[in-house]
């Protein structure tokens, strides 16, 4: 199979994007994603069980509060049509929120195990600590380098993070960004299909929900072609063509706003330019969603783990120096406590950052869907 051979070649050559078959670390990430889903399911079940006509319980009230907030945002951005897209965007928000907040629990990002080795190491992700094969390692920040000798000796000497937040891994964020991309593409396609099928009789200002395809009530009875709407197959094709035409989007406005012979000369090249620009923009949305979420969450967690390590280093120096030099040991101990205080503060800030990143992902998805669904007739 050619792609496996290509994957081996790429893995041999090194480089940034390597397509290795899923190793242990990928299954760890998938497991933690399922754990996040389980947490949301448990909270939602509690909310459902606490719901009552007369006096809803606490869990139901909290969930309703979150729902009304998300629905308010959707209403503000898309109008009454936004109600259809609230379940999807709220799911994205809850999943990303729980995944981001997992990384703030104690130990996440800092506990590693070597597959096949004995036991678990804590806090040594940043490889200022010597690898077991190379005790004489020069203390560089890029610790994979000394382990290259260990690689040739035993291939499984590489430690795998055990407690990892899903969104601090590029795979999860890329998957969520691809889901968002597919969502706004297909919502756009569906909206164009729907408008072609109904023949444009409805203004979208008073849409309160998409039931089955609504056709005009022309009063001529059920066999009127206008009342039935266009047939599905041709409206699929025409809907696809109408969706494609949104890639040239600013151009009709330019065409209408220019007079004379100049517009025949200027507008067609700009048409091509805008097609390219819109396609690149839609692809850049995927990349920006991925990198924004990954960079914020992974960076935040690295800061937390780093502070944890520094606190441990100072605490270790304090405890080992208690016999010899009391003053230095006391100073190290005080520094350790101070850094513990800073790390608590950083963890709280990290919870805000996780919330903001989940909210921003949801808002951007809503904004892209609203651009895809807004038809200019």
């Amino acid at each position: 199979m050619w792609f496996l051979a290509a994957a081996e070649g790429a893995a041999e050559g090194g480089g940034l994007v390597t397509f290795t078959p899923p190793g242990l670390e990928d299954w760890v990430i998938i497991g933690w994603t399922w754990a996040a889903m389980l947490v949301i399911l448990v909270i939602a079940s509690l909310a459902r069980a606490a719901w009552n006509e007369k006096a809803p319980g606490g869990w139901a009230g909290m969930f309703e509060h979150i729902y009304h907030w998300v629905a308010g945002l959707a209403n503000g951005m898309m109008g009454p049509v936004g109600r259809n897209y609230v379940p999807f965007t709220m799911t994205i928000f809850l999943l990303l929120l729980v995944s981001n907040w997992f990384g703030l629990l104690p130990g996440f990002g800092a506990v590693e195990a070597v597959p096949g080795g004995q036991g678990v190491t804590v806090g040594l992700t940043w490889s200022m600590a010597p690898k077991p094969a190379e005790k004489k390692a020069e203390g560089e920040a890029h610790g994979e380098q000394p382990a290259e000798a260990a690689h040739e000796a035993t291939h499984e000497a590489e430690p795998v993070g055990l407690l990892e937040s899903p969104t601090s891994n590029l795979n999860t964020t890329l998957a969520m960004a691809l889901v968002a991309f597919l969502s706004f593409t297909f919502f756009g396609l569906h909206e164009h299909y729907r408008s072609v099928r109904e023949g444009g009789h409805h203004s979208h200002g008073d849409d309160h929900g998409h039931g089955p395809v609504e056709v005009a009530d022309t009063g001529n009875g059920p066999h009127d072609v206008e009342a039935r709407g266009r047939d599905p197959i041709s409206s699929v094709v025409l809907g696809f063509v109408s969706w494609l035409s949104h890639f040239v989007q600013p151009t009709p406005m330019l065409w209408n706003s220019m007079e004379g012979a100049m517009k025949y000369l200027l507008v067609p090249p700009m048409c091509l330019l805008f097609i390219g620009l819109n396609i690149v923009e839609e692809l850049a949305r995927v990349i920006s969603l991925t990198l924004r979420l990954f960079g914020n969450i992974a960076g935040e967690h690295q800061v937390k783990v780093g502070l944890f390590i520094v606190m441990g280093v100072f605490g270790g120096m304090a405890m080992t120096g208690l016999q010899e030099n009391l003053f230095m040991a006391g100073t190290n101990g005080i520094l350790s406590v101070v850094i513990w205080g800073i790390s608590v503060f950083v963890t709280l800030i990290g919870s805000l950052a996780g919330f903001v990143q989940a909210m921003v992902f949801m808002l951007l998805t809503m904004s892209y869907i609203s651009h895809a669904v807004a038809l200019e007739h």
């Binding site: 924004r292 960079g295 960076g299």
Partner: protein, 81 residues
């Protein structure tokens, strides 16, 4: 062997430079955006909710440029060159 040391030197230097320079423009731009948003809220306090939402979206767009710089710095540090 010496080339490896020079490479490590330049990698560390360029990673620090990448993230440092990347956040200058981002800081200025975000400060500008928040200042204008606060001014608009001061003029019209009842539109706070809508303004807050739009401001957060705008800040996310600006922030993503700094995140691109951070990702370049992470690539420079954590890939086996």
């Amino acid at each position: 062997m010496e080339g490896k040391i020079v490479l490590q030197l330049f990698l560390a230097l360029s990673a620090a430079l990448a993230i440092g320079l990347g956040t200058i423009g981002t800081g200025l731009a975000q400060g500008n955006a928040v200042a204008k948003a606060m001014e608009a809220i001061g003029r019209n306090p009842e539109s706070t909710g809508r303004l807050q939402t739009v401001m957060i979206i705008g800040l996310a767009f600006i922030e993503s440029l700094a995140i691109y710089a951070l990702v370049v710095a992470l690539i420079l540090l954590f890939v086996k060159w």
